[in-house]
Subunit: 428 residues, 2 copies
């Protein structure tokens, strides 16, 4: 970890920068994949799976029976853990549903909003050694609550042309019935255009490697929307002397193990705490299986001492962390002065791991400073808001002169006429 | 207008297509503009304004005094109209603000969401003969309610290096103090990177020509978010025999006057109504100043007869209109079966013009079928949602085994350790 002492504001811009990765060659591959998948559908999916993943997937879709029976292939403990997480995530995401509020703007003018589900949604779940079934829950549960009618999921198969039973069981509990064994940019292209096997969707969610990330961004050129632009995961902890350095170190390590491009930042007004955390990091990390990754991502990481807590807060708002642990005496002050973060964890007993899995909140969050303008995935991510209005003749009369004056000032006389033809109509 | 009778479902895909425009040459210009503005800031803004608009803008920023005095340069009628519109739009958009709801997920586990304003927002308002001051209200009012701290606006100046007093007065009532005389892709590039005069923003809103639209899309490559992808404006009316053909025709014309690429669609289960509306169109259009535009956009437009109202509704959901007028006897049935639209106008006395200006709803809406997955601009467009959680030691104990089991199954033992180090700690 790099140690920074009371940095000047002029240095903040470089301090909030995330580790950079170049994606120029990726863009070219992705656009090629899109072209081919659009033209050749399933055939090109199979070709790419063979080319990139060395797997022959003659079958693309997972049989319903295999999803249904996935339960029997996972341990009882894991089933119980998933079921508990499901319950908590469902509870929190249900609470986000808003009820319709009809507003009387003036006598005879009523306006309101109604939510409707985005009908066709697609999820991408990375494969690899560790199956990210928790992300299936994070995307599947709010889509279940929003009642999205068509939910599909793509994930790369293993060498035996299988998707892990953990992922399939998470699909089952979330009512995701259409699961396809395809990964990478070709999966995103398939969901963008549709193929013989894989239906086209309107919005794509989920994490992935740099190819998937770029493909999601690229899909927007074809009328698809995406959950949010992605980047490597990150955690910032604000801690003072009231924090337990052992816990702080454990939280930093839990984030650092994600990948070599992950970033963890410790901000504190206590040099003593920074020292103690540093010592704890060196002790704790040695017992962890992903030590190599952790060492690499700690190189990208910083501990920053700020004399003034207000400077620290201002810096954190500029950084806009994906995950933000507030571990200080005066937590209320830090909460009310927070302007940008993805998900916030408060106090000594709220590790980021809790929100990653089972406390109820979502773990699909804006990285790379995007928390300045993006929200994490929540139930609203699966809805669109439609505006309604109903006006009576009397209501229209009361605003007709304003509408006509404004329309004429904008040079739009047909807009004026749509009002005057009604208000001047004596028949009614 | 093209007449279509009871189309087969196989034809729907082509029927919902919007008029197409090619933008390949535009992309090249836009990327060039971005490169130059990033490198040369204000100097390149001035160059482009001279090159594209033939205007020498030695001054880029509008003096505060000119904004303040704008009121005296518009008519009393227009001022009153804007003030009424402001009041109604403010009322509806205020009603959209959500209050915090703390959820107890389990004993000792509390989760909630809080909204925070997107601090730096930029608005683009097109210039031209008719100043679109109504759009200033539609973007400015919700940003005022959300308390966005930095709001800037760019709009191309006229030959006298001025922005119209209507636009400036709308800025004044919305508290937009930083107004810049620059249009086109160079304005979007300036808000993306910042220049000596124009501050960088995090999110860009507002309509524009094809260059502006492409530039907004392009800005997303540099970490900017935008209100929504744009396209030409459109209106679909569903009308039966209970509708007044005069009003229906007037509404179609009000949309058709926007531009030659606008599209209007009439859907009905009454051949008689379609005939009468067609006759009315031919009568009414002749008194309108924008007849040439109207004739051109009517060429892109369709009237579609459906024998069954259910087919009509299904087709409309597939079309996903930006503006949708429901003018039928059984309006409740149509509302509850609607899945995709931007803004809906119900009954004989709710012309689209009302929502364009003064009823209270927003007029910045998803076009081109994007209503399937995008919402129009609303107060929420100026907020991001942050998730918070606070867990007690007892709360953590109750979910610790689930978290640890899940973390291990995903191969993340540092995630497990962040929990176990707390729950195994006897000191506390």
């Amino acid at each position: 970890m790099i140690n920074v002492l009371n940095p000047n504001k002029s240095d903040w811009k470089s301090l909030v920068k995330r580790p950079y990765f170049n994606n120029k060659s990726i863009v070219k591959t992705v656009s090629e994949v899109f072209k081919n998948v659009k033209k050749n559908g399933d055939a090109s999916i199979k070709n790419y799976t063979f080319k990139f993943d060395k797997i022959k997937n003659d079958v693309i879709k997972v049989e319903k029976k295999i999803i249904f029976e996935s339960e029997s292939r996972i341990s009882k403990d894991l089933k119980n853990a998933i079921d508990l997480a499901f319950k908590n995530i469902y509870k929190f995401h249900s609470s986000q549903v808003i009820t319709k509020k009809k507003i009387q703007i003036q006598d005879g003018i009523h306006c309101w909003q109604e939510k409707r589900p985005i009908n066709n949604v697609g999820f991408y779940i990375p494969g690899g050694t560790a199956p990210l079934f928790s992300t299936v829950l994070m995307l599947g549960i709010p889509s279940l609550i929003a009642k999205c009618s068509n939910k599909i999921l793509c994930s790369p198969p293993n060498k035996n042309l299988e998707i892990s039973p953990e992922i399939l069981y998470a699909c089952k509990v979330c009512g995701i019935k259409d699961v396809f064994m395809v990964g990478g940019a070709q999966a995103i292209a398939a969901m963008t255009f549709g193929t013989e096997s894989i239906p086209k969707v309107d919005k794509i969610f989920g994490p992935g490697n740099q190819y998937v990330t770029e493909a999601k961004q690229y899909s927007m050129n074809f009328g698809i929307s995406i959950d949010m632009p992605a980047g490597p995961s990150e955690l910032l902890i604000l801690a003072d002397n009231s924090a337990n350095p052992k816990y702080v170190a454990a939280d930093l390590l839990s984030q650092a193990e994600h990948g070599i491009d992950s970033q963890v930042v410790l901000v504190s007004n206590s040099k003593n705490l920074i020292d103690q955390v540093s010592k704890e990091l060196n002790i704790q990390k040695n017992s962890l299986s992903r030590l190599k990754i952790i060492n690499k991502s700690l190189e990208n990481s910083k501990s920053i001492f700020f004399k003034s807590i207000d400077d620290a807060i201002e810096f954190i708002n500029e950084y806009a962390p994906e995950h933000y642990i507030i571990n200080v005496e005066n937590e209320e002050y830090c909460i009310s002065n927070l302007s940008s973060a993805g998900s916030v964890f408060i106090g000594n007993y709220t590790p980021e791991s809790a929100g990653d899995y089972a406390s109820g909140t979502n773990h699909t969050l804006p990285t790379n400073g995007y928390a300045k303008q993006y929200s994490g995935v929540n139930t609203d991510s699966f809805f669109k808001t439609i505006t309604f209005q109903k006006i009576s003749k009397r209501g229209l009369n009361s605003i007709s002169s304003a509408i006509q004056t404004m329309a004429l000032s904008e040079g739009l006389d047909a807009h004026k006429q749509a009002v005057s033809i009604r208000t001047n109509d004596d028949e009614n």
